[in-house]
């Protein structure tokens, strides 16, 4: 037998081969998505109860004048809101992508697997027992809640015979989410904190303040960097655990870090917007459809496209029936539910 080098030289030259790896489309999506995101953010800031021109948005950002009312509206109300929306979208999307890659479960999403319900339950507890808890601590309880939610779901799911199939996990997730949702509502009624919680259930970014963003940002940035570092290992895990072990991956370590990142991302997002589902389902699947299966590209593209989806959803939420706001969670579910049904119809086949 000839050496690998000799044989492959007969087949194709290196230059020809390199064509086979084409991250080009991923780069196009990434930069196209970023442009679209920036444009959507600008649009979202300019549209609203008080109409503001796009040009004014520009000057408000780069040439702020506190004397001008529209500048103040932009700075104090609309900018934190739209940035919050973008961050939340990225968080849910990346959390979903990580979960799908690690578990090979196409239906994995922080909403469907109980993380969101767990986090909002914990927030309800915080409102009830520690009213006025600073956001800095709320966000940590939110992480805890997300962890609690996913633990219960996996616990319930693995009780069933035949182990954890994607569909079973989602069923367990639905059941646990319903239970935690009911408990949160019970707490809300008993402690009369329904008003405070209302916007969490409905899901909205309207209350986002600069201070929230400041507290969220470090968590999100660290988690996102972590996700990008893990991305190659996630691709390997998505080939199956045995294959990954055979290739010399420390699968337990990767899964542990991956799960921590997911909890931070989902917990942060819920602490801002409430239990909005389906973003983590729609965005990674769309990304995978567009650019293929390499998580080194899926994760960055999910960051961008996730942000874009929620910014647009938030914009739509304000535009549909002004001056009232349509709950953003309901809007996303409008796309998400048919999408979920489509995926479930495919039998929840392993990724």
């Amino acid at each position: 037998m000839s050496t690998p080098a000799e044989e492959s030289a007969e087949i194709e030259t290196l230059e020809e081969i390199k064509k086979h790896s084409h991250p080009l489309i991923a780069i196009v999506i990434l930069f196209g998505g970023m442009t679209a995101l920036l444009f959507a953010i600008g649009l979202s800031i300019s549209l609203g109860a008080a109409d503001i021109k796009l040009a004014t948005v520009w000057t408000a950002v780069f040439n702020f004048n506190p004397e001008i009312t529209s500048h103040q509206i932009i700075r104090d109300i609309r900018m934190p809101r739209v940035l919050g929306a973008a961050m939340v979208g990225s968080c849910f999307a990346v959390a979903g992508a990580l979960m799908q890659g690690m578990t090979r479960n196409p239906l994995a999403d922080s909403g469907l697997l109980g993380l969101n319900a767990g986090a909002s339950f914990m927030l309800a507890l915080c409102f009830a027992f520690f009213p006025g808890l600073p956001y800095m601590y709320l966000i940590m309880f939110s992480f805890l809640g997300a962890g609690l939610g996913v633990l219960i779901v996996y616990g319930v799911g693995s009780l069933s015979r035949g182990g954890l199939t994607p569909i079973r996990l989602v069923l367990a997730g639905a059941a646990v989410s319903a239970l935690l949702g009911a408990l949160s509502e019970g707490i809300a009624l008993y402690f009369q904190i329904g008003q405070d919680l209302a916007f969490w259930y409905a899901g909205g970014v309207s209350g986002t303040k600069w201070i929230n963003l400041q507290i969220m940002a470090p968590w999100i940035i660290v988690a996102m960097i972590g996700a990008v570092i893990l991305s190659r290992s996630i691709t390997l895990l998505s080939l199956g655990e045995e294959v990954a072990i055979g290739l010399g991956q420390k699968t337990k370590t990767i899964k542990l870090f991956g799960m921590i990142i997911v909890l931070v991302l989902a917990g942060t997002a819920v602490s801002v917007v409430g239990a909005v589902g389906f973003v983590g389902l729609i965005v990674p699947h769309l990304t995978r459809f567009l650019i293929g299966h390499d998580y080194r590209w899926i994760i960055p593209c999910s960051i961008v496209l996730g942000g874009l989806l929620v910014v647009l959803a938030d914009l739509a939420a304000r535009m549909i029936n002004p001056p009232y706001e349509t709950p953003i969670g309901a809007l996303i579910a409008l796309i998400g539910v048919p999408f979920f049904l489509y995926l479930a119809r495919k039998g929840g086949k392993e990724l």
Binding site: A5, S8, H20, G246, L247, G248, G292, H293
Partner: protein
């Protein structure tokens, strides 16, 4: 010479021990095939060797060093594993999937170097997948898919190959192609091959060394002549086998068989 030593290994799943106290050596540069009835612990033993399952007692040694104490990436440079039910995520192309075989040789962010491309293309070439290179793995037939996974294990460029039923899903001709490829890798490059096969005649024809197992214990180990005997097949599979000689390899093969009349 021994490359892998399985020393008093007990291994299984959470609440059931499948293999209890099994010791056997895998000779270097030979083809070793494990045979045995369904559920006898063949795959479990392979999983212990490939460190997918942790041994509950005893240990597996690679060149005299306990495998769970070695860096997993170092082990992966020496030993490639083809699991039984490998299943590719949708949308991956043949080239992409095979390229993951280079993981243990890559650092950091995993860009493919010239040497990696050579291994990948060679693996695709010898498994006869050249024309499918850019196809999605999903779109291939079961047999072609199996060859893609074998190509990935080959791309890993290891001296030891561990394969759990590499011929499942393949038709007669493709089964033989895979086995002949493994034989070639063994003869020309001296690679050690350990596999599980269900086809006893293939096992006999292509192996230097056979291990027969039943109920998690080793029944007989040795050359095909020693293992492929009426008596041994009777005790392992509970069958009454009529033996003859393979016209190609001159090793004993089972011409036909019936279930053993005696009730156990």
């Amino acid at each position: 010479m021994t490359v892998l030593t399985i020393d008093h290994v007990a291994v299984g799943y959470a609440n059931s021990l499948i293999v209890e106290d099994l010791s056997v050596s895998i000779p270097k540069g030979k083809i070793t095939t494990i045979i045995g009835p369904n559920g006898c612990g063949k795959s479990t033993l392979l999983k212990a060797i490939s460190r997918v399952l942790k041994t509950q007692s005893g240990a597996v040694y690679l060149d005299g060093r306990a495998i769970h104490q070695l860096q997993t990436k170092e082990v992966a440079k020496r030993m490639a594993i083809l699991p039984q039910s490998a299943n590719a995520p949708g949308g991956l192309t043949v080239f992409e999937l095979v390229s993951y075989g280079r993981f243990p040789h890559q650092g950091g962010f995993g860009t493919l170097k010239k040497e990696d491309y050579e291994h990948i293309n060679w693996a695709i070439f010898v498994t006869g997948l050249n024309e499918f290179k850019d196809r999605s793995v999903e779109a291939l037939s079961g047999g072609q898919r199996q060859r893609v996974w074998i190509a990935m294990a080959l791309a890993q460029g290891t001296e030891i190959l561990i394969l759990d039923e590499p011929t499942t899903y393949l038709d007669l001709a493709h089964q033989l192609e895979v086995l002949i490829l493994l034989q070639r890798l063994n003869e020309e490059e001296g690679r050690t091959i350990v596999m599980v096969l269900h086809d006893l005649n293939h096992a006999s024809r292509f192996s230097h060394n056979m291990i027969s197992m039943k109920n998690g214990t080793l029944i007989k180990e040795g050359s095909p002549e020693e293992v492929m005997t009426c008596l041994n097949l009777q005790s392992v599979f509970n069958i009454d086998a009529r033996m003859t000689t393979c016209p190609f390899s001159k090793n004993p093969i089972c011409l036909s068989y019936q279930l053993n009349q005696k009730n156990e």
